[in-house]
């Protein structure tokens, strides 16, 4: 290519990037203004819950989507985050948010215990280890009065200061979650464009070939898990902040793990906005189901989730993102 031609391609690339950045900022601004458009507290709360679900799902996406290592016990990290926040308050009268860094630390330790031995074995072992870990911790917590036992833990009933981050309106939570999600997605985006991102995709694609190119497979899977565990723990802490309560099931239960998986799988694993798309669809749907069918709804919801997961695995493992790509490709073939 001639020098002039390359310069033109480069500047077109820079221009394209500039447009993309402006687009993202515009969407972000709109998202920030959304709570003002929603008059109802109920709707504001759902919007906040959507973002919270998107955070945990995006965190799961790091290990399950980008690295292709399917965790079905990720609640273990979520629960640690939620419990750490409320334990800090219950035991030491800290503002709940102060417990979050400890939650992250503990989650990183758990990630090491789970990931280090299993990443040198076949993929199934990791998945099995995640359920075992989540169940193990759940049972321990149920039987440990110090951390609330089966009853669980509560946050400050009345906020003592702003630091308690205990608001009556969902709006401040919405904005906190929006900020956290934005940070997480920025980290994810940066990671996917870095060597780590390339290595993870290679591992996911052809692990043997990746190894022969010098990719330290175990190490990078482990890094992805650490990143994922840390952010999932943070999501748990944020959940505890907003809801003000956690018990063994809402912290470590299998349904928490399932939700992360199906939200990401539906939207598209390994894509940046897949988890958010999945959350936007599923969270309001789940709230509606619960409101309409009450308790019975829970059972049916998860039967449906199970079916959706099976269908996704069978027909479109890449979720909606994959379907979208297929549509685009079909469209191009028609135009040609």
């Amino acid at each position: 290519m001639s020098g002039g031609g390359m310069a033109m391609t480069a500047s077109r690339g820079a221009w394209g990037r500039g447009v993309a950045v402006l687009g993202v900022l515009a969407v972000l601004a709109l998202a920030a203004l959304l709570p003002f458009a929603l008059q109802d507290v109920f709707h504001q709360r759902i919007a906040a819950l959507v973002l919270l679900a998107a955070i945990s799902a995006s965190a799961w996406n790091l290990i399950g989507g980008y690295a292709g290592q399917v965790s079905i016990g990720h609640a273990v990290f979520f629960g640690v985050g939620a419990y750490s926040a409320l334990l800090g308050y219950t035991l030491f009268e800290w503002p709940p948010i102060a417990g979050a860094p400890f939650g992250i630390l503990i989650s990183l330790v758990f990630a090491t215990i789970i990931g280090l031995p299993t990443f040198r074995l076949r993929g199934h072992y990791f998945s099995m280890a995640t359920i075992a870990a989540a169940e193990l911790v759940r049972i321990l917590v149920v039987n440990w009065p110090l951390v609330g036992g089966a009853v669980g833990l509560m946050g400050p009933a009345v906020p003592r200061s702003t630091l308690d981050l205990s608001f009556t309106s969902p709006r401040p939570y919405y904005w906190t979650f929006l900020g956290t999600l934005t940070a997480l997605l920025l980290v994810t985006h940066w990671m996917s464009r870095s060597r780590m991102g390339f290595y993870l995709r290679a591992i996911k694609g052809q692990e043997r070939a990746a190894r022969s190119l010098g990719v330290p497979v175990q190490r990078y899977k482990y890094y992805a898990l650490l990143l994922s565990a840390g952010f999932t723990s943070l999501a748990g802490s944020l959940y505890a902040l907003m809801v003000g309560f956690v018990d063994p099931d809402s912290g470590f239960g299998i349904l928490i793990s399932v939700r992360m998986v199906i939200i990401t799988a539906l939207g598209g694993v390994g894509t940046l906005f897949g988890p958010l798309a999945g959350a936007v669809i599923l969270v309001p749907l789940e709230e509606w189901t619960n409101a309409t069918f009450g308790g019975a709804g829970t059972g049916i919801t998860y039967v449906v989730y199970g079916f959706v997961i099976m269908l996704i695995s069978r027909f479109a493992p890449g979720g909606l993102a994959e379907l979208w790509r297929r549509l685009q490709a079909a469209g191009r073939r028609h135009a040609a």
């Binding site: 464009r193 870095s194 060597r195 390339f198 290595y199 995709r201 290679a202 694609g205 052809q206 043997r208 070939a209 990746a210 190894r211 022969s212 190119l213 010098g214 990719v215 330290p216 497979v217």
Partner: protein
């Protein structure tokens, strides 16, 4: 001595795929590993590449014992390989595939991209740089395998039947590419069935049969060795009589 293998045995249960093979390689050589099907050359190749661990024996790279070293370590030390059935990263573009290789030596994206583009130009894949690797046909895939392995800046490149399944024209282009790789100072070990390639490219041929090296030397001489002919012909004679 760049690479040395002594007394390599690889057993699967009671079956010895490689039964005491020695091998040596000097810097700058092009050596061909040949032999009939099931002779153990692929197994031996994979032992050299670190994919399989020999049951016994030692492999030394620049005097350093790499017998038990994993494939990742091989690549880092400068030993790269391609795969008989191309294992390209289907969902990534051609350029991204090569970048995975380049990242071994260059941690930053821009630098890795630059090196990848260099390799793409060297192997003639530049026009396909932005195409999804999964959309490529076999000849392009084999070329991509080579470009990707070259991006790890190896001293020694192990090619596993890189020219199998190509048309005569494609074989010529591939031979030319291998020559250019050699001209850059890279030592090559080539496993091949296509005899013409060995005769044209290899300076030395090593013949495997039933897990052992039965002949070694200049390709033209080796091909006329009665033991070698017996190994191949006996093989095909036995096949023909089995079919009859």
């Amino acid at each position: 001595m760049l690479l040395e293998a002594r007394g390599i045995v690889k057993a699967f249960g009671s079956f010895r795929a490689v039964d005491g093979a020695d091998f040596h390689l000097a810097e700058g050589e092009i050596v061909g590993l040949i032999g009939p099907n099931g002779a153990g050359k692929s197994t031996f190749f994979n032992c050299l590449a670190g994919e399989l661990q020999p049951t016994s024996g030692r492999i030394l790279f620049r005097g350093r014992d790499i017998t038990r070293a994993p494939p990742e370590a091989h690549a880092r030390l400068g030993l790269a390989r391609t795969w008989q059935v191309p294992a390209v990263f289907e969902e990534m573009t051609v350029r991204e595939n090569v970048m995975v290789g380049a990242f071994l030596r260059h941690g930053h994206r821009q630098e890795a991209m630059r090196r990848a583009d260099e390799m793409l130009a060297f192997t003639g894949l530049s026009p396909l740089a932005a195409s999804r690797a999964g959309s490529l046909g076999t000849p392009a895939r084999k070329r991509l395998e080579i470009a990707r392995a070259l991006a790890t800046e190896p001293e020694l490149l192990l090619l596993d039947e890189a020219l199998a399944g190509l048309t005569p024209a494609e074989v010529q282009a591939a031979i030319e590419l291998v020559r250019r790789i050699h001209a850059r100072g890279i030592t090559l070990v080539i496993v091949e069935h296509v005899m013409e390639v060995i005769l044209t490219l290899a300076q030395r041929a090593v013949v495997f049969h039933q897990g052992r090296v039965i002949a070694e030397g200049a390709p033209r001489a080796v091909v006329e060795d009665p033991a070698v002919i017996e190994a191949y012909l006996g093989h095909s004679l036995r096949r023909r009589s089995a079919r009859a």
